[in-house]
């Protein structure tokens, strides 16, 4: 079974430029999460989707960040414009309510460097 797929793995951009990250969750997983991981810290939730609905986006900086999961499968996270402080790893995870647990499976992440 394929795991959570993310692309790109690495992205270097200049500040004020836009950037987008893509995530494809494990097949059949209806819940999708985007986490932000700063260097030397644990991941922090940005947004959580149940199918195509964003059910928890309280930590998403909505002035510059946006996300979508149009068909309830893959998802895109966008930053526009990027700032120096956005340099971090962006992790995508997925889980299945059908498993009756809270086990989240993580992708390899996208490491963003803003110059």
């Amino acid at each position: 079974e394929a795991g959570v797929v993310q692309s790109p793995r690495y992205k270097i951009i200049e500040k004020k430029q836009p950037v987008a990250f893509w995530c494809n969750p494990i097949s059949g997983h209806n819940t999708l999460y985007w986490y932000l991981q700063n260097l030397g810290q644990g991941p922090e939730l940005l947004i959580r989707y149940e199918n195509e609905e964003a059910v928890d986006d309280s930590q998403l900086p909505k002035d510059r960040f946006s996300a979508e999961r149009l068909k309830g499968v893959d998802s895109t996270l966008k930053i526009q414009p990027a700032e120096l402080g956005d340099s971090a790893v962006y992790l995508c995870a997925s889980s299945s309510l059908n498993e009756g647990s809270d086990t989240q499976y993580f992708g390899p992440g996208t490491r963003l460097t803003v110059l």
Partner: protein, 113 residues
């Protein structure tokens, strides 16, 4: 709101020695508890999890963890560390199926030959 504390930022052990990584959580109800491992440049891999039942849980790669409600702890242990165990370890607490995880700050494990 729930929180997780991993008191040790760095730990160094010799190969073959035993290991214990500490994790304390704050949560009002019975938590869902997890340990993940992250190697450099990699995503998080689940080592083990606790939802209910036996408070001593076994995971992959020879790891185990014990849930102690009275101490609000979920410490990770391994009887004999291998060089390949060098990585960053994260403890996390969840509120239930489909909900977010709250992570601790992580413990970086270094293994001496």
């Amino acid at each position: 709101a729930q929180s997780v504390t991993q008191p040790d930022i760095h730990i160094t052990v010799s190969e073959g020695a035993s290991l214990e990584l500490r994790c304390n959580y704050s949560y009002g109800a019975t938590p869902y508890l997890f340990w993940y491992v992250q190697s450099p440049g990699q995503g998080l891999q689940l080592l083990l999890k606790y939802f209910s039942g036996d408070t001593l849980v076994q995971g992959i790669k020879g790891f185990e963890a014990e849930f102690k409600r009275s101490q609000s702890s979920f410490n990770l242990r391994k009887p004999s560390v291998h060089w390949s165990d060098a990585a960053e370890y994260f403890c996390a607490v969840g509120m239930g199926a489909g909900n977010m995880l709250t992570f601790g700050g992580g413990t970086r494990l270094m293994v001496k030959p």
